[in-house]
Symmetry: C3
Subunit: 264 residues, 3 copies
Amino acid sequence: MINIDYLVRDLSLVRERSPLVHNITNYVAMNNSANALLAVGASPVMAHSLDEVAEMAGIASSLVINIGTLEAEWVKAMLIAGKTALDKHIPVVFDPVGAGATSYRSEVCTQIIEECKPSVIRGNASEIIALFNAGAKTKGVDSTNTSEAALHPAKALAGESGSIVVISGETDYITDGSTVEIVRNGNPMMAKVTGMGCTASAIVGAFIAVNPNFLEAATHAMFIMGIAGEIAARSSKGNGSLQINFLDTLFNIDEESIRKNIRL
Amino acid sequence: MINIDYLVRDLSLVRERSPLVHNITNYVAMNNSANALLAVGASPVMAHSLDEVAEMAGIASSLVINIGTLEAEWVKAMLIAGKTALDKHIPVVFDPVGAGATSYRSEVCTQIIEECKPSVIRGNASEIIALFNAGAKTKGVDSTNTSEAALHPAKALAGESGSIVVISGETDYITDGSTVEIVRNGNPMMAKVTGMGCTASAIVGAFIAVNPNFLEAATHAMFIMGIAGEIAARSSKGNGSLQINFLDTLFNIDEESIRKNIRL
Amino acid sequence: MINIDYLVRDLSLVRERSPLVHNITNYVAMNNSANALLAVGASPVMAHSLDEVAEMAGIASSLVINIGTLEAEWVKAMLIAGKTALDKHIPVVFDPVGAGATSYRSEVCTQIIEECKPSVIRGNASEIIALFNAGAKTKGVDSTNTSEAALHPAKALAGESGSIVVISGETDYITDGSTVEIVRNGNPMMAKVTGMGCTASAIVGAFIAVNPNFLEAATHAMFIMGIAGEIAARSSKGNGSLQINFLDTLFNIDEESIRKNIRL
């Protein structure tokens, strides 16, 4: 069960410590992810060169690996950074964008999960189902399944991999394989803003940098995402303004707005 | 001549079917293109790796190739994806960003048009003139010609290539080499939003995915772009807010706003 | 000392001539940089392929090199473009993003400065200190030093390299090694918008394209940045709206708003 005091504490810790969150992410979501990390109080860095990726991962407080626009050289960099982080006990979030859409994506996902042992895996329902069941096909990068449908696969995946698994959707589920936390905050229009899932992974990266209880940290991050998205959607006419209002809301979110808007 | 009923029908089809539009596009416009496709109701995916590009193109409803920030490996991916699409009768839009600015761009354009036989080629006037006349030079990626000046080259290019050719500018012309459709909607401030032309190509990609009459589909897409841009510009103070208002308008555009704003 | 008449003249020249500014920059800031250049009246182009980078640099009015998301092939392109520009007397701005964060970044910075002899180097305080003192370490890409602390290093770096050095921060300093210009306009929230520093480098690129007195041109550009950011921040609730309002303000900035808001 979520404790709002701890959620507020984690948010404060992100703002006080401004953890360096190293992102190896996709071209579409880089700008959004960086701005969301700045809005929440973290310090983002994007770096993927084989000539520096281990060094950068080694000085970071957490690492976010996202395969949205993957290619061979980037995957090499992801594996080097991920293994460096693993060696140095730096927590890693893995975002398996489009898992199941092509066999290459599915193979890379398996390799990253096995070799980097991410602390948290965050995906939409279709991606989590595809990770669990290598035969499942997904359509591009948008989910065609409900979060509920992915709950069993998520628990099994968490059990097998040792990672916390986050399914994001209208309802978010966060599980370590046995306990399941539920986040009902959010707004359906968020799915119409590109990179919103990637942004969620980045925010999880900020929270696991300050709270070593990754189930709790990931749940807190998803509440912050959901609450900020829900508040922002109220004054948004479409996915353009939602993208902007979301950042503004994240920038200003505080204990009062959390307590007022959280759905428990 | 445009039939508004058919335009409204195509928009409805995009929203109902949510076609998967595979984009191999430039770094600058990826986020805009993805958000515009989501706003109009399509499902965007960005993928360029040689390890998956044929598979992704093969499951897509249409393919958008845009050379804005081209490089050798990406061009290989464009050609593989484009030829896969051609084999599978998946329609392709080609956006020859900066054609004529460097000889490399001009060569790549020729190769893509010859090998992928795009259903639609969409560019600004300078780019279309450069495609037609290999000797013409352009300044960077912004047009220095009027759309009218490109009309003859567009018709000749359409005749030679078998592609529908779209010249976008203050007035847009869409031609199959003989028929010419004209779109007068739009606003000059749109040229001050980076990637607006790339976004137009992406929206054409959504419409040719639901309407096999590509002249009609491309014309409908350009009307949607022009009408949304024109409405959005009314409440925009500069290119920042126009980028956002454009997405919001696209998100909400409907038969009523189309009928009220279309210039025939 | 700044002369407002000259500042206004340079802004008018950018708008009249619309100089082609060639950017080899990072994935995070490409969209922002392009939109900011369009807002101020310049014509941006992004190109990095080894197959065209020399040709593109050769037709540009200025070149902006930014290593935010550097990798080996891009660094090759930066060096080719930078040396082409040097040969053809085309001014170059260099943005040493994250200098000092990894040894690779520091080495690349040294190489670019030595081989391309940039007209202007623009960085935050930590980056400028790292360039001057190869042993200094920085945390990611955000500055942990005040601009004042970087003033001596900036002057020394300017003296050694022959470049104008710009330190941006709450107060900006612009120096040729002896003269120091000071820009006090701006707002702290600007540091929370990703790519704002990169945008400043791009705007410097637009101004050095029209004014060969690079100390003056860079100072003018930093005033435009600071004034636009300060005006925009007044109506911004967070880093989301600031990013958009900044572009709108830049789009509309004129002699009156400059005279009213400049801090001398």
